[in-house]
Amino acid sequence: MAQKLYITTSPHVHCGDTIERNMRTVIWALVPAFIASVIVFGAGALIVTATSVASCLFFEWFITRFLLKRPSTLSDGSAIITGILLAFNLPSNIPLYMIVMGALVAIGIGKMVFGGLGNNPFNPALVGRVFLLISFPARMTSWPVPHQMAAYADAVTGATPLNLIGQIVGGNTAAADQLPGLKDLFLGNIGGCLGEVSALALLIGFVILLWRKVITWHIPVTILATVTVLTGIMWLINPVLYVNPLYHLCAGGLMLGAIFMATDYVTSPMTAKGMVWYGIGIGILTVIIRYFGSYPEGMSFAILIMNAVVPLINNWCKPKRFGEAAK
């Protein structure tokens, strides 16, 4: 016998899954939303996404190479996803230096200070976005109106559906007339952050993720269901002040957050039961912030707050053990 045999305990085969494969699938699932954003916002969408991805990759490389002095982790693809998701959470006319700052916070403070992918308690892209939202509230909450294909920083801005919903709740019921139609809302013919405008494109991404078994249905479905139920109740109570729940589903970052941000592996719970509770929590917080908070959109804060609760959820929600009921 010539060759030295390897010895390990079982199992001796692997299904072939890798981190890279999962990350690649997520990137593919984000492509429809990216195409939608380019159609709606034109050049601005391209510039913002390219800058965000490039700076996230740069900071990841820089930090692993010079500060942590570890082998590069660029190839796992998580920095690309953070870059895309950060860009998808920004308006298309945001200055470049802000994107770079957001990327630094996302990768540096959101991920690498905790020891890299797998150890971060908060979704890195959302950490970057919330940092920008608090630091530059004016730039972060003025969104260009759609279809200014060549415009970037000079794009004309306008109110988004969520702004209008906020105004209605504030008593300006006349704003209801400015609300776009549900069809425009669903297809993405509205103002807003890059990636969040087209609910249709995001749902296509959801189907891809489910089909490739990257995520399970639990988190997105429970978030959307919770928001529908809560806003539906309020709508039934006072249809003049509170809009149809379908508006809430399609407006703002709800779809993007529920499908791509809340389902982030590292920062979501481990068990199906935990995922359901996590989704319900995000849904409730989102509705509260949307209706009663000072920001029009509550998705990012809701996800970050629930991220902080995940270790507790993991402790409480154990999977159903085999033979437990019989005990």
Binding site: K4, L5, Y6, I7, T8, T9
Partner: protein, 299 residues
């Protein structure tokens, strides 16, 4: 002006009230602690190594104060002077133990013990030892995954990348026994430190029959028993094909070292002998003044 006054008053009163509550609580729930526990804890090394058998240094200090005598309560890390100080605080007599040091009883380096398989599982000796005999034909020797290195709280044991076997830095070793406990093969033993750190020990734990052991490792103990006969102090015993030197009985005469056909018995930190032949000199241990580098080289 009035709103300023209101703010100051409200905040001041709240502060005062909370302060009173804190004071009351601290008085009511005050824990009476023997001041000696604190004194002893300060004397202890504070590494919480667990070598004494208590969960950490504070628990050890408490045990010192509470128990009737110091029998069986001993910090292996502290020097004997420190133990005397502790004894002075508690008022109990303390037995002065013999200084010990961890000794790695395996010399199966890559050269002496060729690898016949490749281990590819979790990097833990304990996990590897559960599964099978390891990468070599010797099922008793060092597995080389470094559980002992991770167990050491004093940075006193390291893997030698050339031999794949851990090396103890005798100056740093406090004989807490954590490495000996971590080793699934029970290769590491606490042995008397002796004068000038001189030690004679069988550097093998292989209990296989002679031919099997010899085939697996060129420096394995084959259980021939020559050392047993050579020892004038009856310090060496042979049990299931393996010689063992009782360090309480050994007088460091080194007769066994010359007798061992496998060069399994090692004598460390002795001055060089007058060499009988050049071939033997390679196995003989060079002189050393407690130098760690030399110790590494020889093990």
């Amino acid at each position: 002006m009035s709103f300023l006054l209101t703010a100051v008053l409200v905040l001041g009163l709240t502060g005062l009230l909370l302060g009173l509550v804190l004071y009351a609580v601290s008085r009511k729930f005050k824990v009476e602690e023997d001041p000696r526990v604190g004194q002893i804890t300060e004397l202890l090394p504070g590494a919480n190594c667990g070598g004494c058998g208590f969960p950490g240094c504070a628990a050890f200090a408490e045990a010192c104060v509470k128990s009737e005598s110091m029998d069986g309560i001993k910090c292996s890390v502290c020097k004997s002077e420190v133990m005397q100080q502790i004894a002075a605080i508690t008022g109990h007599a303390v037995e002065v133990g013999v200084a010990k040091v961890a000794v790695v009883r395996c010399a199966g380096s890559c050269a002496n013990r060729p690898r016949i398989n490749l281990y590819d599982g979790a990097k833990s000796c304990a996990a590897a030892a559960l599964m099978n005999g390891g990468e070599t034909g010797c099922f008793f020797g060092c597995l080389g995954c470094g559980d002992c290195v991770r167990a050491c709280k004093f940075d006193a044991i390291h893997m030698n990348p050339e031999t794949g076997i851990p090396v103890v830095e005798q100056d740093k070793c406090t004989a807490c026994g954590a490495c000996a406990k971590a080793c699934p093969r029970m290769i590491i033993e606490l042995r008397n430190k002796n004068k000038l750190d001189r030690r004679v020990f069988v550097s093998c734990v292989n209990k296989d029959k002679g031919p099997v052991a010899k085939k697996a490792c060129s420096v394995a103990c084959i259980g021939c028993g020559k050392c047993v006969k050579a020892c004038p102090f009856e310090a060496i015993t042979l049990d299931s094909n393996l010689a063992y030197i009782d360090f309480e009985k050994c007088r460091l005469c080194r007769k066994c070292v010359d007798e061992c056909p496998q060069h399994t018995i090692q004598a460390v930190n002795f001055p060089p002998k007058k060499m009988a032949s050049p071939s033997e000199s390679q196995q003989q241990v060079p002189a050393s003044e407690n130098s760690v580098e030399q110790l590494k080289a020889e093990i």
